[in-house]
Symmetry: D2
Subunit: 353 residues, 4 copies
């Protein structure tokens, strides 16, 4: 396997399987002399944690991060930050069934084909539990660029979606509801809907919108590493993500240039922002905003046909504690990946300007 | 500037400005011993070339590629392939106006802010002319994986979009119409629409769909470098792209798990393919398919407000030879970037299995 | 800080300070399906460990490695291997003196200048304790290429050096003496000499020779990543290393082409091996051999002038448990770095041939 | 083939075979706004050029560099600098002999084994002609750090070597003699010796010393990417190099700590400089100096046994225009590689401090 490192100058490398000893990572390139806000890190971990509310999985994972290096007397020293999150909740369960079967729309089958071996316990490396390391790193990345504000929220669950623009929403209420939606009416509908879906043993997809404010002009490298290309890759690397659009997004494809062009004000800001804060791959100082589409969770609490390693189709009853809808818990993950990209671009931009 | 290299093992590094001496690149990591099909490369260049039809820009660019190394007696030697495309069409025009102004939704302003200097002639490095090097490299990448079939086509222009699934389309007619749409009725409508838009001095967005067939199981690295994350980054790095979705895409966000899960057949193939040929970041042998949204071209043949480097807003009349709609010419670019990602993954997969 | 990752496909990223919680690393790119020989890893750790004999430091470090991921039921799964070595021996000592002073020929001063902050306890990240992670990774790397034999040994301590060619030495006795020298007479002299140097509160430099046997033809990339350039960088990245030469080495500079050229046998082997097993950056199947020069340890058990952070020179009495000569314990480190380079090249060579 | 890119932020990628169309490269990461001194580039090319004097090869290569991008109105724009050097001198010679034979101590045999194919004309990619691109890039790199002074010179040819320390030499006379040695007496001896060696159809090795002055404190990354490890790799990547040592070098291995430690002055400089300007991988502001050993050129103007691709040993008479001693022409190459490493470290250091 390759590709367990993310970033150019601010580099996060992660390890860990769902039911192994621990998950964790190393952040190389973190600048020296930053006073670490541990509470902010713990807060983002709490937001990602299972068992927060009735609409997310009831698994108990402590998700306590332990820092092993790179921080001395409360400050970053510039050396790599090693950290781990112990897997305290892995039971020595009965894996005889899962060991021999490939669940639909999971990575079981392709892992076995690609590696000839897999840690089948709880999905192994393909488990979304892997994102806990991203949240730790993202929470640290935010501290490199304290003036930049990252706000992600749920903008759609199934057919229920926000009908307001992000500018008209009250971000301060996002954490007040279990869905993490900045429209309390919609939040209630979404919550009810997720509960109903859960009751039927089914799952549902959703969309997260992320807004990045107060971004300096000049972040991003204008050819292959366009700022939105790096953001897109970051989002598409999150489990269950199926699509990414920024600024006008897919709607831009239906528009004319005369509508879509963002006319300048005299100070270099623009009157509209279909560009989504990025021109030619470079941040232009306007808000960056994008949408990330998540598919419904593949693990159902229903009977489902699965493939065995003997090439047979058998019926298997899904069980366990799983999320009926992934988006509420994915909000801090989207922010974390956005922060990693922006902090990295910020550091790179110090050189080439 | 950083980020002029794309790929992990098959690495394309490009250079060149719109009106400089030449554009070109170096492909490192191209395997030895492949008999190069030069006609295939020229064909892809022809498809990207300006002046092919009445709905694309009438600029004349020869776009003849010259190979400088890495090929000996018709075969690749394994050494880096250096190539260039001379800029034969750059006129010593009058740049006094463009030099001082920043066009809306172009990269003029951010380049100047980021670098303090820019080659203002024809957009410099931010010009889509840069993609000519990608097409050369992509055409070579296809030859590394000759059994894999890359097919991109226009699936929407403004509000006009295909209503058939890709499986029901006749790919053999894509190159028979100037729009590159595999539905001749829709192609005609699109062509008429683009002509009308052009006549009004305006531009229009569109969507390209790409289908990759006959992909072996196992391509892609399952954490940060998921196959679809790399494809997404590749597409988002193309000029004017605003969104990327694969498989079920944004529609997946509205679906339930019981609908969206792709049940297995006994041979490991799946009955449906909402996954878009990729599970957990790894190809599963089914068709890979994705959509790429392009915004309308920012250069209008109308009067438009622009910003000057003195901080004034003035009116400027757009002129020159520009595409009213970028998607017909972007079809080979989408294929090229897809081929670069797939060939790279293919090579990487030789090791880690 | 950057540069805590080593390798192209087999990537080792390390973290950890001398007196922090733990040291450790992540190995990304380790192939799947290899049955891990844990005893071999522990053996290499034992060889590097302090307190093995009277001529090395008497510090007690347990150096027990804990694997956190990537290994399942005794086999590698292809996922990243996370590991750590807890720092069990760090005493809450009195650091008030060292905190304010910069020791000569240590990294204290440059760390403070570069980062504005340093973990002064035991040298922090600049401590050779960092190499423990390299030994773990190197021991794993050897298991990727089990047919290739890595043998490092001490060939000089101060003025005492081997006068035989490596072909005339008995590698089987290397571990029989505390110096790790394959000539028992010389080993005794070296041991006596080190003891005498130690008694005087001084330290002494030395040379390690490494021989790599049974290397397949074709490893190495012939331009910037020549096999010997990668080996050289690997060796020069080890603490206290001042020089690297391979094959004829510095002696080649005094030779004529007619002496130095390695004439072929009919089977492609060569009659002589001044090339050191590498031609044009590519292994040619002959033994690879090289020398690595280590400076004397900078920490003396004598009084020495040091610089304070107030810009004063004061006298400081060196104390503690330190190596009088680093080469006996560095033998497994040299092997480890050699194994990382060779295994990485071996993997890369699978693709480009 | 991989590894045709050198550098982390300042990245040089090269292409080109000895007798192909052209050699050249792309420099990505070159900062914007630098007024390019073309004369300085041409001067370094002239120093590397064949045919400068009677002791170097009499081949005529124009070595004129053509810049294709990245420079506008005399200044760098920040975009990648593409450049090429046409191969004007390649004759359509008779290659029937060389095609079938592998010369001793050349890369012919290993290329054929590794790639299954090779451009046999003049050594192809393994020719030292490849270094022409390095000289162009190095001359540009020097302009990023104009205050840092790079001085390389010949310090030994065969048994004739300088007996003075570099501090006692007059660098201003280096270019006054054909050997590029800053001791006119020794220079004469060396010149006579090279002529005698040449007359006998033989070749001779040598050593180049490089001194880098006025380096700021803090360059280099202290673990795997120690400044001297990167310099070492850079030097070892030059054709014919067999060894690298910096500061005390191999001599350090014979010294005691009490002799070798560099005691501080109150201003942070040191009284001695056995460290060679680098502590713990980080520049300390003192002069950086190192030696690079070159083997004798493998091409002799004598009869020599060669291997054929039929597995036979036959006698071949060496002919053509070749250097009897490579070091005089390698002086600007050593400087170029040093400048690439230092400028790269300089840029990286802007971020992590």
């Amino acid at each position: 396997m390759a590709g367990n490192t993310f970033g150019k100058l601010l580099k996060l490398t992660t390890f860990g399987e769902s039911h192994g000893e621990a998950l964790g990572g190393i952040i190389d390139g973190f600048p020296a002399g930053i006073t670490i806000d541990f509470e902010a890190i713990n807060n983002d971990l709490r937001r990602r944690k299972p068992g927060q509310s009735s609409i997310v999985t009831q698994r108990k994972e402590e998700d306590e991060v332990q820092f092993l290096s790179g921080i001395f007397e409360g400050k970053s020293t510039g050396t790599p930050i090693g950290f781990l999150i112990a897997n305290t909740n892995h039971k020595s369960g009965d894996y005889s069934e899962i060991k021999k079967t490939y669940r639909p729309s999971h990575a079981d089958y392709v892992y076995e084909q690609k590696y000839g071996i897999r840690d089948y316990r709880g999905g192994g490396r393909s488990s979304a539990r892997e994102t806990v390391s991203r949240v730790v790193a993202g929470a640290l990345a935010k501290q490199i660029v304290p003036n930049i504000k990252f706000t992600a929220f749920v903008s759609a669950v199934g057919e229920i979606s926000l009908d307001k623009k992000y500018q008209d929403l009250d971000f301060s209420i996002i954490e007040d509801n279990v869905v993490r939606c900045p429209d309390s009416e919609k939040a209630k509908q979404m919550e009810q809907f997720i509960k109903a879906v859960k009751k039927s043993g089914d799952t549902i997809g959703g969309i997260i919108t992320c807004v990045i404010q107060n971004v300096p002009i000049g972040l991003g490298e204008p050819v292959f590493d366009k700022l939105h290309a790096d953001l897109g890759k970051a989002m598409l690397s999150i489990n269950a993500v199926k699509g990414f659009e920024f600024g006008g997004g897919f709607e831009s494809a239906r528009m004319r240039g005369s509508e879509h062009n963002d006319l300048f004000n005299e100070d270099g800001t623009t009157k509209t922002n279909f560009s989504g804060g990025i021109q030619g791959g470079i941040s232009n100082g306007m808000d960056i905003y994008f949408n990330v589409a998540f598919k419904p969770v593949a693990t159902l609490l229903q009977k489902q046909d699965v493939l065995t390693n003997q090439g047979e189709i058998i019926e298997l009853q899904g069980k366990g504690r799983h999320d009926p809808c992934v988006v509420p818990r994915a909000v801090p993950i989207v922010e974390a990946m956005a922060a990693l990209v922006i902090a990295d671009s910020f550091m790179l931009n110090k050189i080439f300007k």
